[in-house]
């Protein structure tokens, strides 16, 4: 790992504690982590280990109970809901296991969703969405609705949606979990290409074979980082 690379994310002594009535759950326990430009990271760990919590915090969907989270120069751990929403909109692209496409919108409109919450005009939104669908190779499927697309194609639409705002990092939560192995491999190849093109990718998975393709692997166990290499 070339340490001379620019640091994008700096997580310092972050804890996340859930208060579930009687019991207190420490989902993350004093975790520190740096993520650099053009990293390709897989986060692994059994269910309940805290990997989803880490993912949510990195993705600015949640704020830590304790510790500091800096994204570039911005202190995420101190932000309110609106500021977090803006960071998510501008800096982060999400890819979900279940695609999470809106069934009533076509591929093009689905890709456009993040742009609606930015300040772009209509013309520019369309151009950007077309460009993103072009990158994932779905330029012929722009007007298709999700139920007219295969699983692999749906995930590619979701990736296009993640790319459309030119985010600093792409967060993928089990992106191949709902796909057959052939489509899954295609998606993984695609992630490799995105990485080669200079994108920063963070992927949560529990499949060894998937994790092997990434350049850096972080194992989480009981809310602590067990391995980072």
């Amino acid at each position: 790992m070339a340490k001379s690379k620019k640091e994008i994310i700096s997580i310092q002594s972050v804890s996340k504690i859930y208060n579930l009535g009687e019991t207190v759950v420490k989902a993350l326990d004093n975790v520190s982590l740096s993520i650099y430009d053009n990293d390709y990271i897989s986060i692994m760990g059994p269910s309940g280990s805290g990997k989803s919590t880490l993912m949510n915090i990195i993705g600015c969907l949640d704020v830590p109970t304790k510790g500091k989270y800096k994204f570039k120069d911005e202190l995420i751990s101190e932000m309110d809901d609106n500021q977090l929403a803006n960071i998510r909109n501008e800096k982060i692209g999400f890819v979900f296991q279940t695609f999470n496409l809106l069934p009533k919108l076509n591929a093009m409109q689905n890709v456009e969703v993040p742009l609606i919450y930015s300040s772009l005009g209509r013309k520019e939104r369309i151009e950007r969405a077309e460009e993103a669908l072009h990158i994932v190779g779905l330029q012929d499927r722009m007007t298709h609705k999700p139920n007219e697309l295969s699983g692999g194609q749906r995930q590619r639409v979701a990736i296009a949606r993640a790319l459309v705002n030119k985010p600093s990092i792409i967060l993928a939560d089990e992106p191949t979990g709902n796909l057959d192995s052939k489509s899954g491999n295609e998606i993984l190849k695609f992630f490799a290409k995105l990485h080669k093109d200079g994108n920063t990718i963070i992927m949560v998975t529990h499949e060894e074979s998937v994790a092997k393709l990434s350049k850096r692997r972080i194992d989480i166990f009981d809310g602590k980082i067990a391995r980072d290499e």
């Binding site: 609106n82 929403a85 803006n86 998510r88 909109n89 999400f94 969703v113 919450y117 300040s119 705002n165």
Partner: protein, 419 residues
């Protein structure tokens, strides 16, 4: 610029809200129909009330706000027939007492009333006949001589057979041509038309229309037609003097008729403002009932919309989570769901307006046969449309606020995990 971008964002969220209305059209229409009924009733009630008002104003013009009428019957809806039927006829001679003693009455006329058959060629019609003094020319209210002239003192003295006709005679007998100089027969006596009155339309007065009217000298009326017409005294005063004038005229009448102190009046002093009270009571009763029913249906439809909005939020929890993950702020989501609720309300209101428009159109295109081609007086104004939309937006916001807030405050992580 910042402001402009924010506005732009605001409208984008409204469009998203409208889009989801389109994709659930059946449900939306069913929900909105409650509001349609509410808006329809409120419109009908307002239209009815404003029409009553308009007609009423016209009727007020007919009687005038500056006149006192003396007759046997009081102008009231709850009169006691047995009490009034045996009252003595109004005597024309009372006018002399009034002219002599009254401080407030500036001009007087008799008004003899009857209904008679008017014929011209082979056409016939019933008309209301008034026999009056020449002074009545200046006491016409709500209308005036539009064509020709009133009869003169000389014609009155000589009991000439000259008449002034109301606006419907021209259309009924002369196909819209000038009736001046023409001769028509009333009760088989020939009369010459010397003047024509301006049209007034339908009013809430006995007989309904104000235009089916023929005026002639009271002397002629008495000699040629009947001595048994129903007589009234028409007394001119100033609008602000009406209460005093009525009281004064009542006292003079008692003296003229030599009614002993303590006995009841055997005549009635009337004026338009007494009518006004009666009408206002009626109008308020109609409006009160209508608005109560409407209020209930509006509340029920607001609850309906709220319910559908809760369902919509529940169904689209994942969508909300996704939109938030993609950068939608709480305010974005709030706007989206609020505009959905308002859109449902406006759809309901618009259908209501379309219905009321159709109803008004339907009513207006069926003339009432007995009123010489006049139609039922019901009005429809643009202000109503404006009020309806205001009410719809208000109800939409009211009904949508709690569900939209629920949606806006959802935690994106939980929302995304929703099955």
């Amino acid at each position: 610029m910042e402001k402009l971008l924010e506005m732009n964002n605001f409208f984008k969220n409204i469009i998203i809200g409208l889009f989801s209305v389109r994709s659930n059209l059946t449900r939306v229409i069913l929900t909105a129909s409650g509001l349609t009924i509410g808006i329809f009733t409120v419109s009908i009630v307002s239209a009815a009330v404003s029409s009553i008002d308009k007609e009423f104003a016209k009727s007020m013009d007919y009687y005038g706000n500056d006149k006192v009428y003396v007759g046997t019957w009081p102008w009231s809806f709850d009169f006691d027939w047995w009490k009034y039927r045996n009252r003595p006829k109004i005597e024309e001679s009372s006018l002399e007492y009034i002219t002599q003693y009254s401080e407030y009455i500036t001009d007087v006329s008799i008004k003899k009333n009857t209904w008679t058959r008017a014929t011209y060629g082979n056409k016939a019609s019933w008309v209301q006949l008034n026999g009056v003094y020449p002074s009545y020319q200046d006491m016409l209210s709500g209308t005036k001589i539009e064509n020709g002239r009133f009869f003169s003192q000389n014609e009155w003295d000589l009991q000439r057979r000259v008449i002034i006709v109301g606006g419907t005679v021209r259309d009924g007998f002369f196909q819209g041509k000038d009736p001046i100089g023409k001769k028509i027969r009333l009760n088989n006596v020939t009369f010459e038309i010397i003047g024509e009155l301006k049209k007034q339309g339908i009013g809430m007065v006995p007989g309904g229309t104000l235009d089916n009217l023929v005026i002639m000298p009271s002397t002629t009326f008495e000699r040629i037609l009947t001595r048994w017409g129903f007589d009234e005294l028409v007394l001119q005063t100033n609008p602000e003097d009406i209460p005093l004038a009525k009281e004064e005229v009542g006292m003079i009448m008692r003296v003229a008729r030599k009614i002993p102190p303590g006995d009841d009046d055997n005549f009635a002093v009337n004026s338009a403002d007494a009518y006004m009270e009666q009408f206002n009571t009626m109008k308020n009763a109609i409006a009160g009932m209508g608005f109560l029913v409407t209020g209930i249906s509006l509340v029920v439809s607001a609850i309906g919309i709220m319910n559908v909005m809760f369902v919509s939020v529940r169904e689209r929890t994942r969508e909300i989570g996704l939109r938030k993950a993609m950068g939608a702020t709480n305010f974005n989501i709030l706007t989206q769901f609020l505009s959905e609720a308002v859109a449902i309300a406006i759809i309901g209101g618009s259908v209501g307006i379309a219905l009321i428009r159709l109803t008004v159109f339907g009513l207006a295109s069926f003339p009432i046969p007995n009123f010489n081609g006049a139609t039922l007086p019901i009005s429809f104004d643009l202000l109503l449309v404006f009020y309806t939309f205001t009410v719809c937006v208000f109800i939409g916001v009211l009904a949508g606020l709690i569900p939209a807030r629920t949606a806006a405050n959802l935690n994106p992580i939980d929302a995304l995990r929703d099955e």
